[in-house]
Each structure stands twice: as structure tokens, then as C-alpha cells.
């Protein structure tokens, strides 16, 4: 468990988090590995985990009828996959698949939810950090919607 604290301390999402809380998170964490092509979770599954990617790339996918799986976004090392564990109904909205070999730290969201109920300050801290992740993703998505590579009026 000591090793995981050190790993978590380096994660951008958790930058500046005090040692006590990091220890708490480490208590809910474990190291995981996914082989290329391996599915982490599917749309509709219960969402009780979030992953901090330490190496490799994860593709968020959605299934398009008659076209198959389409990647909507890829997540790289240092980034976080999953916030559905924070909000009811606690179910995944997309599929996730390892693109290359992925090493990640998985944190038990269900366990954390309980701890947040007991300690709202912890809950606020985590919520704030995840809100930042979501805002960043939203900004990048908006940038993609601008279609900057488009032709203009041709």
C-alpha cells in the first residue's frame, strides 16, 4: 500500500492532496494491467471504479449500429478515465478498450463513495478535482466542434 501512495502522489489529478487523504485513497486502490484490445468496461455496466492511466492509451468507444465501434476519445498516461462512479445511476456511458498495453491504478469508487459520505470535506476535494477534469475534456471537445480544419467558405 505504501507503494501506491507514492504513485498516486504523482498523478496530476491528485496534485497537492494531503498525505492523509492520499493514504485513504491508496487504501481503495490497486494496480491493474490491460493487454492490447482488452475491454475495461462496457456501456451500461456498473461504474464503481476509476482508473489513473500510468502508461499506454485507453480508447473510449461507442457502438454505432451498422458501423461498429467508433472511438470518440482516447486517454493517455497521466490522465483519468471515469467519473460515472460519482453520480447516480453509477453506470458507464461508453465502452473502454486498451489500445496498447495499459498499466493503471484502479480506485474502488464504491468504497470511496462511502468514505466521502463520512467525510464531506474529502468529497468536496474529490468533486473539485474531477470537475476540473470534466471542464478540460469539455474545452477540448468544444475545440473539436469548431472544426478548425474545415474549408471556410471553400
Amino acid at each position: 500500500m505504501r507503494g501506491l501512495e507514492t504513485v498516486l502522489a504523482d498523478v496530476p489529478l491528485l496534485e497537492g492532496m494531503d498525505a492523509g487523504r492520499l493514504e485513504l485513497l491508496a487504501g481503495c486502490a490497486s494496480n491493474v494491467r490491460f493487454e492490447p484490445g482488452e475491454v475495461l468496461f462496457r456501456e451500461g455496466d456498473e461504474a464503481n471504479t476509476f482508473y489513473v492511466v500510468r502508461s499506454g492509451t485507453i480508447a473510449l468507444e461507442t457502438f454505432v449500429p451498422a458501423r461498429g465501434g467508433m472511438t470518440i476519445e482516447t486517454i493517455d498516461a497521466g490522465e483519468v478515465v471515469g467519473w460515472s462512479w460519482l453520480f447516480p445511476p453509477y453506470r458507464w456511458h461508453f465502452d473502454a478498450r486498451a489500445v496498447a498495453q495499459v498499466r493503471a491504478t484502479a480506485i474502488d469508487g464504491a468504497c470511496l463513495r462511502g468514505k466521502c459520505d463520512d467525510d464531506p470535506a474529502l468529497g468536496y476535494d474529490l468533486m473539485r478535482r474531477f470537475a476540473q477534469v470534466m471542464i478540460e475534456r469539455l474545452q477540448w471537445t468544444r475545440l473539436r466542434l469548431l472544426d478548425v480544419y474545415g474549408r471556410g467558405d471553400g
Partner: protein, 372 residues
């Protein structure tokens, strides 16, 4: 030396005899414009102009002064940098290659008769752009060489003149073959000074007398008087910095409400140099031409890229013109772009006054000095 006004006839004649196309001020369509002078009589004898924002009127003088007025809507740029010229013609060779024939510039050499100090500064400014950079503009260079300049010291500046503020006049300091100072105290005569060998040579054909101290003093008084009769004033020592730090000043919104983006200012300004190229072809596509014509930063098209204009608003286009003319011209070409001739003020249909705009920005600058 001194000549009588009638000798101007001989001077025009001598220039024409040497093959020059003499261009100078003449009255036409209610204004004093630049056109070919066939005779000294074509000069606007006894005329003066009354100029103000958006206003230009000719009025009769009570003397026979040949140069008793300021500048009109024309400038010498129409001759050195014509509004529309063909650059070259091309046809496809046998293997599809381009066979290009550049447009010859083989008209008669030009003589500018009556160029003012501000105008000589304007020509020098355009010289820097067209022949003073890394690439020389062929057409301008060909027209520019061999121009004969008969300059005139102003004694009757106009209501919109501010050459004193810009350090460009009223006294002619350079760029002339001959310079005249018209004297109306007592005998009507002109002080004539030579500025080049070409000038010295042509003066031999005129009937002249030696200037005495009285003539020299009168000339100095006339120019001094002109200095004191400027119609406008502009504090010009810090324009580059002032404008660079006020690109979002609310005054631009104020001007934008008045400016029609008609581009008159760019047409009459003696230093404005924007141009565009037009490709012309015949229906078979066997013959092509490239033409160059005047353009203006006030058009929407001027800043068009990728399906839109970088400067779509009138506000941004007026700001571009003024900050370029007075500010970024220094960065691009090492001098100011403005010579204080006042044409933009006179010929603006809504009387926007560049000196007033500068003063307004300066006096209401936030956190700046409260200079008048």
C-alpha cells in the same frame, strides 16, 4: 536669383522643349488638380483654396499669385504609382511555357511643376517602399528616374495643413532641381534657387537677375508666415507608442460610427500605396494579362483569408488605416507615413480629422499623461 512671373512661361516651354511631360496645378472642375501644363498660363493664377473638414472651395485672390493655394485632391503618386497599369502580358508557348512580355514604361520623362515640401516628403516615403527595400518595384523605378522637380515653397498653407507638426515643411529642403518662392510684397517676383546640374542648365534659358538681400529676406518672411498659418496641429513625437498602446481605446468605436469606409482618404493620401493584382484572360485562354490597381485597406476584401475578412468591422479598418499611417509605418519602413498635407481631412465626406482623433485618444488615455 529672381525671375518675373512671366518667366514661368519660358520655364514650362524650356522643359517641354527638352521632351518633358510637364505636370502641374491647374483649375478644373472647381478644384486645383494636377494635369499637363502646356503653357505657364495654365497655372491657377489669382486663385486660392479654402479648405476645412469635408470642405474645399476655390476663391479668387486679389492678386496674380501663381501658387497662392495649398494642395488639391491630386498628388504626384498618380504619376509615379498610377491607379491602374498593366504589368505584363503572357501567352502560352509551344510546350505550354509562359511567354511573358513586361509592359514597357517608355513615355516621356516627367517634370513636376509646383511640388510642395510635404509632397517631396511623400515621394521620398514612397521611394523607400518601392525602391528602397529588398525588392525594387520595376514600374515605379522606371517612372521615378529622370523626374525633373520644380518645387515651390508654400506661403499660403491651407485650412487642413499641418506639415509643421510632421516636420515636412513648409520649406523645401531636398529633392528638387529648382525651387521657387513667390514674393508678393511690392514687385511680384519669384526667388529661384537651383538644386542640381539639370536645374542649373535649364535656368540659362531664363531671364534672371541676381537676388538682393531684400529678396532673400522677403522669402524668409513668406516661409515664416506660412509656418504660423497652419490650419491644424498634431503632437507627433510619440505617435508610434501612443497608438501601439491604445488599440482598444473607445475612440475607435466613436470614429466607427462616423466613418463610411468609403476610402476617399486612401485615394487622396500621397503616401497610401496599397494595390491589388487582377488577372485578365481572353475567352480562349490563350492570352493573359496581369494588371495592378490601387486598393484600399477600407475594403472588406483587403484582409480576406479562409472564407472571411480578418477586419470585418469598420472600426478595425479605420484603426488599421490610422495606426498604420501614424504608427506601424515606422516599424515597416522607418518613417512616419503622414506628411501633414491635410488631404484626408478635406476630402473626407464626414469630415473625420486625423489630428482630432489623435488628440482625443491622447487626452482620454487611461493612466496616461493628461496632455492637451
Amino acid at each position: 536669383m529672381v525671375i518675373l512671373p512671366t518667366q514661368l512661361e519660358a520655364l514650362v516651354g524650356a522643359l517641354r522643349d527638352r521632351g518633358y511631360l510637364v505636370v502641374g496645378p491647374t483649375v478644373r472642375d472647381g478644384a486645383i488638380v494636377y494635369d499637363e501644363l502646356e503653357r505657364g498660363e495654365d497655372l491657377p493664377t489669382g486663385w486660392t483654396d479654402s479648405q476645412d473638414g469635408g470642405t474645399y472651395r476655390l476663391e479668387r485672390r486679389d492678386d496674380e499669385a501663381r501658387f497662392g493655394y495649398a494642395v488639391g485632391p491630386h498628388s504626384w503618386k498618380s504619376l509615379l504609382f498610377p491607379p491602374r497599369i498593366r504589368l505584363w502580358q503572357a501567352r502560352r508557348g509551344e510546350n505550354g511555357s509562359l511567354e511573358v512580355e513586361e509592359e514597357p514604361v517608355d513615355g516621356p520623362p516627367l517634370a513636376f511643376f509646383g511640388a510642395r515640401s510635404c509632397e517631396l516628403h511623400a515621394i521620398a516615403i514612397q521611394d523607400r517602399i518601392f525602391v528602397g527595400g529588398r525588392v525594387v518595384d520595376r514600374d515605379y523605378a522606371l517612372r521615378r528616374e529622370n523626374v525633373f522637380v520644380v518645387a515651390v515653397n508654400c506661403f499660403e498653407p491651407g485650412g487642413t495643413c499641418f506639415c509643421v507638426s510632421m516636420g515636412t515643411g513648409p520649406k523645401v529642403e531636398f529633392g528638387y532641381d529648382l525651387v521657387l518662392t513667390e514674393l508678393l510684397d511690392g514687385e511680384h517676383r519669384l526667388l529661384l534657387e537651383v538644386g542640381s546640374e539639370k536645374g542649373a542648365e535649364i535656368v540659362e534659358e531664363l531671364s534672371t537677375r541676381v537676388a538682393d538681400q531684400g529678396d532673400l529676406d522677403a522669402a524668409e518672411r513668406a516661409v515664416d508666415a506660412a509656418r504660423g498659418k497652419m490650419g491644424r496641429h498634431m503632437e507627433a513625437s510619440d505617435l508610434h507608442e501612443l497608438l501601439a498602446r491604445n488599440l482598444e481605446h473607445p475612440r475607435w468605436d466613436d470614429v466607427a460610427e462616423r466613418c463610411l469606409t468609403c476610402g476617399n482618404c486612401t485615394l487622396v493620401c500621397p503616401t497610401c500605396f496599397c494595390s491589388s493584382v487582377e488577372e485578365v484572360t481572353d475567352l480562349e485562354g490563350a492570352h493573359a494579362e496581369r494588371w495592378r490597381e490601387w486598393d484600399s485597406c477600407f475594403t472588406i476584401d483587403h484582409s480576406h483569408i479562409h472564407g472571411g475578412a480578418v477586419r470585418p468591422s469598420g472600426r478595425s479598418r479605420y484603426r488599421q488605416w490610422m495606426t498604420h499611417k501614424l504608427g506601424t509605418w515606422h516599424d515597416q519602413f522607418g518613417t512616419s507615413g503622414c506628411v501633414g498635407c491635410g488631404r484626408c481631412i478635406t476630402w473626407c465626406p464626414v469630415a473625420i480629422d486625423i489630428t482630432e482623433e489623435v488628440a482625443a485618444i491622447r487626452s482620454t488615455e487611461e493612466g496616461g499623461d493628461a496632455r492637451a
